[in-house]
């Protein structure tokens, strides 16, 4: 099954899908700037080179390329760390500087959507505290988690439309010695990858043209405050979000369609932790099996913490029941990193994944057995005390014998 883009493009020429919002939907950026003019809050401006992209209803959104404050994801860092390291690694390889802060908490939205043990004021204050930390650093925030991104967009809406909430959050921020500040744009890392997909493709060293991909769009990326997600008339005729698919296509992979693309992954927030019968069933019956039957992909790419977790971890039990599963699950960042030559274990940390990724690596021309042996050598160095931690040079094999060192690019600042 191919991607159904021809029909909508025929029916709706590109000139019709213009970057003009004819539906007069809210423009959060304009509303923030108006509130700033009224002295209600501070807007952190984009102050470096940026790429312009179109959102769902045509509003222009600018994606700052460098000098970014990485708002990490607790789930990514906690149990799929190769997701986070791949984002950092790609940014370093493209030569863009960034800041990986200690002065950052989780958005706490996973817990909020799971247990409701919080409230609107607390959630807004947590968001603004993190944004204030970014503002104080001078780096522009880039959000790693799809739920953080969606939740922060929702918080921004609430702060824009409810003066009493602004007052409450402003008072709390004053106690913390921080201003009420929001960024000019709330940007998800997959938007950065999409905006820079041709720069990424220019650094590609591995051919992925034989790789068949299905894409799972993350609900909290494009369903919450949907008008702020990136759409592109050249991708699905502008009928679905453009991120992930645009990157995979720019890298030369074949993206195939499947009928349940709109379904969520089954994460459920509380279900993935305490009611996984639902999660396993939904992930395998409504997503993985449908993808396999209709598209037979080598990998499913997605762009959120919960989606990678759910689709990857839910397959083991289904496999035990003889279901038609067994499909590698990667984030778009890990896939891009692999295409750019990243080490599957030192950078992409695939040993933290459950679904079998090895056939995918073989099809990409990666000798995973050799790579695993290299990583085991790293671990021996750590275990022997030769090194306490591996660093980015180790990740690039700078210290390996007979491996040329890559040219330095980008640098990391720590608190």
């Amino acid at each position: 099954m191919t991607i159904p883009i021809e029909a909508p493009i025929d029916a709706c020429t590109r000139s019709h899908v213009a970057i003009v919002d004819h539906r007069s939907l809210d423009d959060p950026r304009a509303e923030l700037l108006e509130l700033e003019r009224q002295g209600e809050l501070i807007v952190q401006k984009i102050d470096r080179e940026a790429v312009s992209v179109a959102t769902k209803y045509g509003r222009e959104k600018r994606i700052q390329k460098s000098h970014l404050w990485h708002h990490k994801s607790c789930g990514q860092c906690g149990h799929i760390p190769g997701y986070s390291t791949s984002i950092f690694w790609v940014m370093r390889k493209l030569g863009y500087d960034y800041h990986d802060p200690h002065d950052q908490t989780s958005c706490t939205a996973w817990n909020y959507y799971a247990s409701a043990t919080s409230n609107a004021a607390a959630q807004a204050a947590v968001a603004v505290r993190n944004f204030a930390a970014a503002y104080e650093s001078g780096y522009f925030p880039l959000i790693h988690c799809g739920t953080s991104y969606g939740h922060y967009k929702e918080v921004r809406e609430q702060l824009i439309h409810h003066p009493e909430l602004r007052d409450q959050v402003r008072r709390i921020m004053a106690k913390l010695g921080k201003p009420l500040v929001l960024p000019e744009e709330i940007v998800h890392y997959s938007e950065w990858f999409h905006a820079l997909r041709y720069e990424i493709a220019a650094k590609q060293v591995r051919d992925v043209s034989r790789i068949v991909v299905t894409v799972h769009p993350a609900c909290h990326y494009y369903k919450i405050v949907s008008g702020d997600a990136i759409y592109d008339p050249d991708i699905y005729g502008g009928q679905r979000m453009a991120v992930v698919t645009g990157l995979a296509q720019a890298l030369g992979a074949e993206v195939r369609n499947y009928s349940t693309w709109f379904d969520c992954c089954g994460f459920g927030f509380r279900h993935i932790l305490v009611q996984r019968d639902f999660t396993r069933s939904f992930a395998t019956l409504r997503k993985i099996e449908v993808m396999k039957e209709e598209a037979n992909p080598d990998v499913v790419l997605t762009h959120d913490t919960g989606c990678v977790t759910t689709l990857d971890k839910s397959q083991f039990a289904a496999q035990a029941h003889g279901r038609n599963v067994g499909l590698a699950v990667l984030s778009d960042a890990q896939f891009a990193a692999l295409a750019m030559g990243a080490h599957p274990y030192r950078v992409c940390q695939l040993h933290w994944h459950s679904a079998d990724y090895r056939p995918l690596l073989e099809k990409m021309g990666i000798d995973w057995e050799k790579a695993w042996a290299e990583f085991q050598g790293d671990l021996r160095r750590l275990a022997s005390g030769e090194k306490r931690y591996l660093d980015w040079d180790d990740a690039d094999g700078v210290h390996d014998e007979h491996v040329p060192a890559p040219s330095p690019a980008g640098h990391e600042h720590d608190d």
Binding site: C74, G75, C77, G78, H79, P81, S84, F88, D100, H102, D103, Q104, T105, S106, T108, W110, N111, A114, S115, A116, T117, S118, N119, A122, A125, R129, G150, E157, Q158, E164, L165, K175, C219, H220, K223, I224, F262, C264, G266, F267, G268, F269, R270, L273, V274, F278, R286, K313, F316, Q349, S354, D378, L379, L382, R388, Y389, L390, D394, A395, D414
Partner: protein
């Protein structure tokens, strides 16, 4: 307009009668008071505009495919102010929602998932049985997020906690310290938190939980956890000379 009084529901077919909705032992006024708490939330008017009864939200809803759950009924009960049905939902339905917000496909602009979020908050704040039941097994996660600032820590990945995730979970647990030290970003050399959060940052988070009443919300559902967290936070703030 709320026309569902004790007398009225007997004759109005649009409203769930107590005998069908259940919970006849709970006074109507108590149920109504909970509904008023939901309606008083600042987000309520952003989440509900009416209902075409088209069912698009149900078609999009993953939970509706597996449970006796309907985002349409959530929106309708709220719009009609059907107190009996509302109470049934807050006790039986709301924890089945996946919070994916697929229901935002609503052509009327409703947000049934958002209404569920508010209903859950009210259920927690009032210590309803449904909230207590839903949060069984969740204590450690609430403790982790509120005390450490990150939710799913690497050391939570244990085979006994996630036996259905395959043998790789055991590999992670067996090699956790070594594998974490093999991560290039220095912020991630942690096992009990997703990344290393600065002490000052944690204190700021504690102040937020205390100032907004978020911490006190859990007093009714888990008094022990509430006491432990409150003591931890107040002690740390006191050590730093920060007054509430």
């Amino acid at each position: 307009m709320n026309v569902a009084t004790d007398q009225h529901v007997e004759t109005d077919a649009h409203y769930k009668v107590p005998d069908v909705a259940g919970y006849t032992e709970v006074a109507y006024e108590a149920k109504k008071q909970l509904f008023e708490q939901v309606r008083a939330d600042i987000r309520f008017s952003d989440y509900l505009y009416g209902c075409y009864e088209c069912g698009i939200c149900v078609a999009a809803c993953p939970s509706a495919k597996f449970y006796d759950f309907s985002p349409r009924r959530i929106a309708q009960a709220a719009a009609r102010e059907d107190i009996e049905l509302f109470y049934q939902q807050i006790q039986e339905d709301i924890w089945e929602c996946s919070q994916c917000f697929s229901c935002l496909r609503c052509p009327r602009g409703n947000n049934p998932g958002g209404i569920v979020t508010i209903m859950r908050e009210v259920a927690v704040r009032n210590g309803l049985a449904s909230a207590k039941e839903a949060l069984v097994g969740y204590t450690r996660i609430i403790y982790k997020i509120m005390s450490s600032g990150t939710q799913v820590s690497p050391d939570m990945l244990r085979p006994d906690a996630f036996p259905d995730w395959g043998p790789e979970t055991g590999d992670v647990a067996d090699n956790l310290d070594l594998w974490r030290r093999a991560l290039p970003p220095e912020t991630m050399h942690t096992t009990s938190a997703g990344w290393s959060v600065a002490d000052k940052t944690l204190l700021e988070l504690y102040l937020i939980w205390l100032e907004t009443g978020a911490l006190d919300m859990i007093a009714e559902v888990d008094g022990g956890l509430h006491s432990i967290l409150r003591e931890l936070m107040e002690e740390r703030l006191e050590e730093e000379g920060i007054e509430l």
